[in-house]
């Protein structure tokens, strides 16, 4: 590069911008025009559904008994419990989250390979909130042309108050969004009260501010920039889509050669015009500011608003709708030659996604339905490994952890099988030997007990089982344990006497 100098003959075109700043471009503001049609209606319906769900769900109640949270969906980080209606997840259940994430990822792959980026266009929070913010903008500042006129001309009092009002409404929605986010992690009614009385704590105010700010900035200001420059998902689409995926497609075989209606009607030169009247409706409707007629491209989020815009225009000029439609590249190539191909939804990749999803669902359902509300874990004393007591018998100590996942206090019966003449006692009352120990554990808690097992000296170690039974529900579990004797302890280098 250093060899090239100005004295050399060059075929350089004049750069539009000089120097460093040529590598950066001004933000081209997108002014999407309002459209109406089937896709727009569907998008409104999904928006109402998604946002309604998001804002209302924390207020659903679910009775779990005294001392338990009564919020239907609650991710209680402080107490390490996730509640989903009648399901309750403990930290050790976190692998369900893995299953859920695998399902979500596979679902996304499946839908994308079938219908393109419908997630991006219809359900992604960025799209949904941007849609809502654009609605507010349109109601206050007017539609595309009026907004462009306002921004291009001098600031007037009318424009000023409208802009202030718009940002105020945006901030209000953003705050509501950030506040609702917190309610998934803390009891909704009480956190609202604490929030407004100033007792909610730094974390709550901090996160509310964070989500308010990000909602306002991402949906109000960044918009399509998020999809084009921040989100990794568009970069995946070339790997996810193939010739059989239904994507938003301009049917160029039918539309070209495009020309304005006037030019088409005054066609004196004998041009073979297609159906596209080059009205620009698809471009002005696009929330990411692209021209779908250029074909599939990275910024296209597959929202289909250009379809509504085009259908409206076609209807106006009395031509058949569907010039822009969901179709596959393969079908389009065939139709251009006059062949109609059937939809090809079941193909190796979708079948693989489907089977992987069914495996994941099956595993999840089996795991969920076999979820125990009881758990026993046993930690054997390490020092000393065993103790010889006055009557010559051997004693081992165990720390017993009993998990009670039910919502009631329960007494758990701890027994043991596998050693003759053995007896058990609680560490605090070690002389009170019992065949069964009754361990009370509070609702939704883990009880920790130190239990002593005494048995005659057989020298070697003995395998045995701790058995645990919830005396209220009858649910049982077993833990395979070892009773250490002097021989094993001598091998292990531990124990005394």
């Amino acid at each position: 590069m250093a060899h090239i100098s100005k004295t050399e003959p060059d075929q350089t075109t004049e750069p539009e911008a000089e120097g460093f700043m040529q590598y950066f471009e001004d933000h081209k503001r997108v002014y999407p025009k309002a459209v109406s049609g089937k896709v727009r209606s569907l998008k409104w319906a999904i928006l109402v559904l998604c946002l309604g769900f998001y804002y209302i769900v924390p207020w659903f109640r679910w009775d779990r008994g005294v001392g338990e949270p009564n919020q239907a969906i609650l991710l209680d980080i402080y107490d390490r419990r996730f509640y989903f209606f009648n399901l309750e997840f403990w930290p050790q259940d976190i692998y369900y989250l893995t299953g859920l994430l695998i399902l979500a990822a596979l679902g996304l792959f499946l839908v994308t390979s079938l219908f393109g980026r419908v997630w991006c266009g219809f359900a992604c929070p960025q799209t949904v909130w941007t849609d809502l913010f654009m609605l507010v903008e349109r109601r206050i500042e007017g539609d595309r042309n009026e907004r462009m006129r306002r921004d291009a001309s001098k600031m007037t009092l009318d424009t000023a108050w409208r802009k202030v009002a718009k940002h105020a409404v945006w901030l209000a929605i953003a705050f509501w969004t950030g506040g609702a986010w917190i309610m998934y992690f803390l009891d909704a009614p009480s956190i609202v009260h604490r929030f407004w009385t100033g007792n909610a704590g730094t974390a709550v105010y901090g996160f509310t501010f964070l989500f308010t700010a990000s909602t306002y900035l991402l949906a109000g200001w960044a918009r399509e920039q998020v999809c084009t420059f921040m989100c990794p998902w568009p970069r995946f689409q070339s790997a996810m889509l193939d010739e059989q995926s239904f994507i938003v497609t301009y049917q160029s075989w039918r539309g070209e050669k495009r020309g304005h209606l006037k030019a088409q009607r005054n066609n004196t030169t004998g041009e073979a015009y297609g159906d596209c009247i080059d009205c620009g409706g698809c471009v002005t409707a696009c929330p990411t500011g692209i021209d779908i007629r250029d074909g599939i491209q990275l910024p296209c989020i597959g929202c289909g608003l250009c379809i509504d815009a085009c259908d409206t225009a076609m209807k106006k000029v009395g031509r058949a709708p569907g010039l822009i439609a969901w179709d596959t590249l393969e079908r389009q190539a065939a139709i251009a030659k006059g062949i109609h191909l059937p939809a090809h939804l079941l193909r190796p990749r979708t079948i693989i996604y489907l089977s992987a999803m069914s495996v994941a669902i099956t595993v999840m359902v089996i795991a969920l339905s076999n979820r125990a509300t009881i758990n026993l874990s046993v930690l054997q004393d390490r020092a000393p490994l065993f103790v010889r007591i006055a009557d010559g018998s051997i004693r081992n100590g165990y720390t017993i952890k009993v998990t009670n996942k039910t919502h009631d206090t329960a007494t758990f019966d701890l027994g043991m099988t596998g050693i003759e003449d053995a007896s058990m006692a609680m560490s605090e009352t070690h002389e009170d030997r019992q065949p069964l120990l009754h361990l009370p554990v509070g609702p939704d808690q883990v009880g920790s007990f130190r239990v002593l097992v005494m048995a005659p000296d057989h020298g070697a170690s003995t395998k045995f089982d701790f058995t645990l039974r919830n005396s209220s529900t009858g649910e049982k579990t077993v833990y395979h344990a070892v009773f250490l004797g002097p021989e094993a302890a001598a091998n292990a280098g531990g124990g005394v006497h």
Partner: protein, 293 residues
């Protein structure tokens, strides 16, 4: 440096003007807000540089205007925890063992303090978890010389055994052999008796006559402390012989040695080294090892 900016025919995009061995890069400009965000991050870093510790020099560093220090934060936390701990431990000191048992918070604090203090101070002799060592009592075994109730254990820890403290536990076993109180063959006889009657040892070559003679010697010299049935006597610290747990070993040879020239080990008094609350905590910990009464 001259830039040889060209237009790429295929995409209609300008190149950046650089060329590397024939490779040219298309200029697809980033949005300007991206640049400004990057610059804002640099400004933010500079602000950090001014307000927070940033740069080392020699033995010190630039502290920053806010004087933030994670070490000071930790020290403040430690101070706070110490205050919390002192508040709980003063309650432990004042409460009776019974009340500590009833209060889960006090009990948890005492158990933790006891466990840590035991590991730091008692474990070298008594073993981890009170397993004991030859010559040092196994506290988990429930074989007590001076009593295994919480108050007894507290008393023993506070004043020690043969420690020189005025209230120390004290017991002396006569040196029957070295002081000439018993003849060597009498010691052999009493060892035969103790081995068979209390230790449960099956001696092959012990003559019944020897055992009978040993019993008489035992009755005359030993029962005052060890009891007629070898049950021991806690008032004077007389060890229980009718047991499988023996401080100085459970063989006949060791009985002979102990009668001839007894071991009498010392436990230090902890009253000058540990405060009352800590001693009570250790007592609770030792009691709960599995041998407490």
């Amino acid at each position: 440096m001259a830039l040889n900016i060209q237009r790429d025919e295929h995409t209609g995009t300008d190149t950046t003007g650089h060329e590397w061995d024939g490779l040219k890069e298309l200029n697809t400009p980033l949005p300007k807000w991206w640049l400004y965000t990057w610059l804002a991050c640099i400004v933010w870093a500079l602000v950090y540089f001014v307000f927070f510790p940033s740069f080392p020099y020699g033995k010190g560093y630039i502290h920053g205007l806010l004087g933030a220090s994670t070490r000071n934060d930790v020290m403040a936390d430690v101070k706070g925890f110490a205050a919390e701990r002192n508040a709980v431990m003063s309650k432990v000191a004042a409460a009776s063992f019974e009340d500590i048992r009833k209060n889960p918070d006090l009990l948890a604090a005492a158990q933790t303090a006891g466990r840590i203090t035991f590991a730091n101070n008692c474990q070298p002799c008594h073993g981890a978890g009170g397993a004991g060592n030859p010559g040092f009592p196994a506290l988990a075994a429930g074989s007590w010389l001076w009593g295994g109730k919480l108050e007894d254990i507290q008393q023993t820890i506070t004043h020690g055994i043969r420690s020189g403290d005025a209230d120390a536990r004290d017991s002396q076993m006569p040196k029957f052999g070295t002081d000439g109180l018993l003849k060597p063959e009498e010691i052999q006889q009493v060892a035969d008796y103790v081995s068979t009657a209390f230790f449960g040892l099956a001696l092959k070559d012990a003559a019944p006559a020897s055992i009978a003679a040993g019993k008489e010697i035992f009755t005359a010299n030993c029962v005052s402390c060890h009891g007629e049935k070898g049950e021991g006597n806690r008032d004077v610290g007389g060890p229980r012989l009718a047991s499988k747990v023996h401080l100085y070993g459970g063989t006949r040879e060791l009985i002979v040695r102990q009668v001839t020239a007894p071991h009498m080990s010392v436990m230090p008094n902890w009253n000058g080294r540990l405060d009352t609350a800590t001693i009570k905590s250790v007592a609770i910990y030792v009691h709960d090892l599995g041998g407490g009464e």
